[in-house]
Symmetry: C2
Subunit: 278 residues, 2 copies
Amino acid sequence: MLIDGRKIADEIFTELAERVKQLLKPLRLAAVLVGENPGLRKFVELKKSAAQKAGIDFRTYEFPASITTQELRKKVVEISKAQINSGVLVELPLPPHINTQYILNAIPEEKDVDVLSQKSQGAFFTNRSQILPPAVEAVKTIFKKHGIEVKGKNCAVFGYGLLVGKPISHWLAQQGATVSIITEHTLDPKPYILSADIIVSGVGKPNLITAEMVREGAIVIDFGYERQAGSGEPVAAIAGDVDFEAVSQRVSLITPVPGGVGPIVIASVLKNLVELSK
Amino acid sequence: MLIDGRKIADEIFTELAERVKQLLKPLRLAAVLVGENPGLRKFVELKKSAAQKAGIDFRTYEFPASITTQELRKKVVEISKAQINSGVLVELPLPPHINTQYILNAIPEEKDVDVLSQKSQGAFFTNRSQILPPAVEAVKTIFKKHGIEVKGKNCAVFGYGLLVGKPISHWLAQQGATVSIITEHTLDPKPYILSADIIVSGVGKPNLITAEMVREGAIVIDFGYERQAGSGEPVAAIAGDVDFEAVSQRVSLITPVPGGVGPIVIASVLKNLVELSK
């Protein structure tokens, strides 16, 4: 069965628009975009149009790729301090010369919709965060919608990046799943993936996961990219990690790319903004 | 080959005693002990005698099991503020009615030798901590001593507790290992453990890991207990998770219990104190 991420996202937007109306203040999401990467610009535009659907204002703050860490930190501090910005996110990856975590730490926890500052991650990894990292919230939403119980399931997580692999591995383990973290250094991922009830992938390598690797009836969540800090790779197109045509024949549930988990991640960013603004 | 944890710990104590001498101030480690659990008292005494070997003063602050979260929090704040205490630890588990993380959060990062406050964990999980959680530091020390490269290795981690499983899983994944997190909800741990080059266990179930489960030549680090917050279980004796007699015949490297990784964990607590006091 195909997971229709756009439909799920639209349901979330409708629900959020209701909640936003009931708030006594307008909400605005601020996005920080550094450099001229057309892929990143595309992501920001997707977030902007999603925000409109949810009745949330949106502002993009753009800076040249040549900006220094210190200059950018100062700007993010200013943007975060501005009362009009209810939430702030930094589009990743930043250029390689920038100290990414130092920039992310400039966002205070109450505006950190991506749950990426050191403080927010501390709250998340001690299970005390009010909101979840958007990738985790998206997976949780899908599982809830399809009645999937995580406890006791075998999960294979591909990649251990900041946005997908790291937070999702922790969350799955915390829910009582058996979690295998597979990276580019894994010599033979097959035994892990063949025993996996649930496969989550956030790597950015098309056809990394092929049909003969996947157990019949498995659940596949394909983030398809991990915009890893400092990876320096251009984000040119949205592509999945899974050989979709073949794998989708064998599995019980799968997210396509595009239109799968991506729109739900964006909806989760907005949901976090509304949660933090309660 | 048997890992002689006491010998490694003694080497660390000697090195620390040298470093402590060179500091211009005396160091003191404060331990907070709640309730009358003889197992916990034993752990505190082991830390005290270790501190003596390293030339570090030690003070135990004792409170009855009936103390409330608010009262204990106030006490830990006071203990942490006292300039004479260079480092502070809370012996875990606390009684079940106490909000453990809230207590741990009362220790400021610069005195948090166990790396357990929300802030310290945020630093650790973003790879920005000056020190490592003692269990991680102990594993790192063993691997360094025996020339073991983690990258590309298959690791099975038993348990996902605050002190052992959670921090070690993250650290191993960050080093490029393939990590499988196995918990009490895992239906069949055998495939994971049979493919494991490195097994780390922090559960507290004697004979959980038996010889036929372990691959020939594997490396086994047996923490043997995870004094999980709020588990309420008495810590009566130090026991391992591994059927030592049988398993030790098959493996290339193993830590016995007692005298294995335990003393190195305690030495790592003191090492963290010295690092933070530089």
